[in-house]
């Protein structure tokens, strides 16, 4: 049994050069892909009325999302969404979106 485990761990280590996401898929990235359904693929606007998110300045997005959450900033659907995320999750999402190319 011990030997078999070693082989598998070696396989996982060797797999690194062949894969595109060396550390796996982060919670923030997978959560962010669900935002694309309304805000556009990879956060890019495709002509609709809903704003793009790719390359959004991180600090501005954190502030705006927190203001949606508190109701300080009015919204139609965003308050209903963002109430489902902790402040830490909001910060992780904003960091991820800031890394996407606009």
């Amino acid at each position: 049994m011990k030997k078999r485990i070693h082989v598998l761990v070696a396989a996982a280590v060797l797999a690194v050069p062949t894969i595109s996401y060396s550390a796996g898929i982060s919670d923030a990235e997978l959560s962010a892909t669900t935002c694309f359904s309304c805000h556009g693929p990879e956060g890019k606007n495709v002509g609709g009325a809903i704003p793009a998110l790719a390359g959004y300045p991180e600090k501005v997005m954190v502030e705006q999302l927190k203001n949606f959450k508190s109701g300080k900033r009015p919204s139609t659907v965003m308050q209903r969404h963002i109430k489902g995320y902790s402040d830490a999750e909001i910060e992780d999402l904003a960091r991820y979106f800031s890394t996407l190319k606009p």
Binding site: R4, I5, V7, L8, V9, A10, A11, A12, V13, L14, A15, V16, P17, T18, I19, S20, Y21, S22, A23, G24, I25, S26, D27, E29, L30, S31, T33, T34, C35, F36, S37, C38, H39, G40, P41, E42, K44, V46, G47, G48, A49, I50, T76, V77, R80, H81, I82, K83, G84, Y85, E89
Partner: protein
Amino acid sequence: MKMNRRTLIKAMAAAGATVPMISPLSARAMSSNDSSGPKVVVIGGGFGGATCAKYLKRFDKQIEVTLVEPKKTYMTCPGSNWYLAGLVDSDTITHSYSVLADKHDVNVIHQSVNAIDAQAKTVKLDNGDVLKYDRLVVSPGIDFKYEMIEGYSEEVIDQIPHAYQAGPQTEILYEQIRDMKPGGTFVIAPPPNPFRCPPGPYERVSMVASYFKKYNPTAKILVLDAKNKFSKMGLFVEGWKQEYGDMITWIGAMDGGTVKKVDVATKTVYSDYDTVQADVLNIIPPQKAGKLAFTAGLTDDSGWCPVNQETFESSIHRGIHVIGDASIAGKMPKSGHSASSQGKMCAAAIVSHFHNWAMPRPKNVNTCYSLVAEDYGISVAAVYEMKDGKIDMVPGAGGVSPSAGSVQQHKQEADYARGWYKSITADIWNS
């Protein structure tokens, strides 16, 4: 790859599951010169399947992804009510698979599936070809329990359309609405729960009413419902009264609204409420998982497919994932948006499995916009997370648009509804 404790345990568990051999996937991953990755076959090119195919490639380009979908183009159910109203043309809501094939290197095969062999891990197509898979994703959509309504069957859907799988059925209803005599009666019978797109029948009522308001203002709409309440009910009823006066009458199950029988030749519907002769009749029958889910043995007694709600792997057949309307996905509604979200979760689960990565723990969402009138939108939204092995709603989040909204709010949500459509279809088929 960082080998933290969680991933190491998962890797060990995976090794245990594949005793006595190392799985071929790990063996393949060991050879960095071998460009061919594990094989995933996705059956069904709708919101669930097409999303999953694209996102498998997004998360790992090495995976060989094959998408099997008989139709060359796909007309979406979302937006099909807007088409009935004349607000969009059919090209706007019809999408091809060329971007998935050409840009994302998905092997798109336009064939029907003849059989799935879960033991041999193969899919046999109608043309006789056999596809081998390491993981299979099935996104078969819905089928109808025609037998629940006496006199109704698949043989008569050209006369009495359900129009609840977009395409030729949508075109038939489109023509019938336009051919209806002045002052005629449109009768629609929404199904009992659970069913595809909970607000769908009521957006349809709204959109047919908006057409009648312009072109057949003395027409009447009768909704004979098998339920006592429905999605965004308060908002729809408020909007119907404001926009269409007394054109629409809704009869719930408690008042005998459930349709029990139809006479096809005369378009007569029988319910405890009344016997009514319709000029245009739209029956949306009770629903179950799509045919392939049954032939592949993926359904339980409920007629839907039980799955691990984190990975969407079937609870019945290991190695086969079921997403979209056919799956039992906890609190998520059966919607195009849900199906697309599930396609992403499932793709992430499969890629994480191949690499022995920890499965991410994302938040997941659904947003359903409906048009009450061209510039009158309403919405329902929810955020989801895994809780005790099931998809649950995050407390305190989600809900419907406020009632008694302003003209401006309604216009904004109508614009967002159209924006949502552009974005989600671009995300799935067109970018």
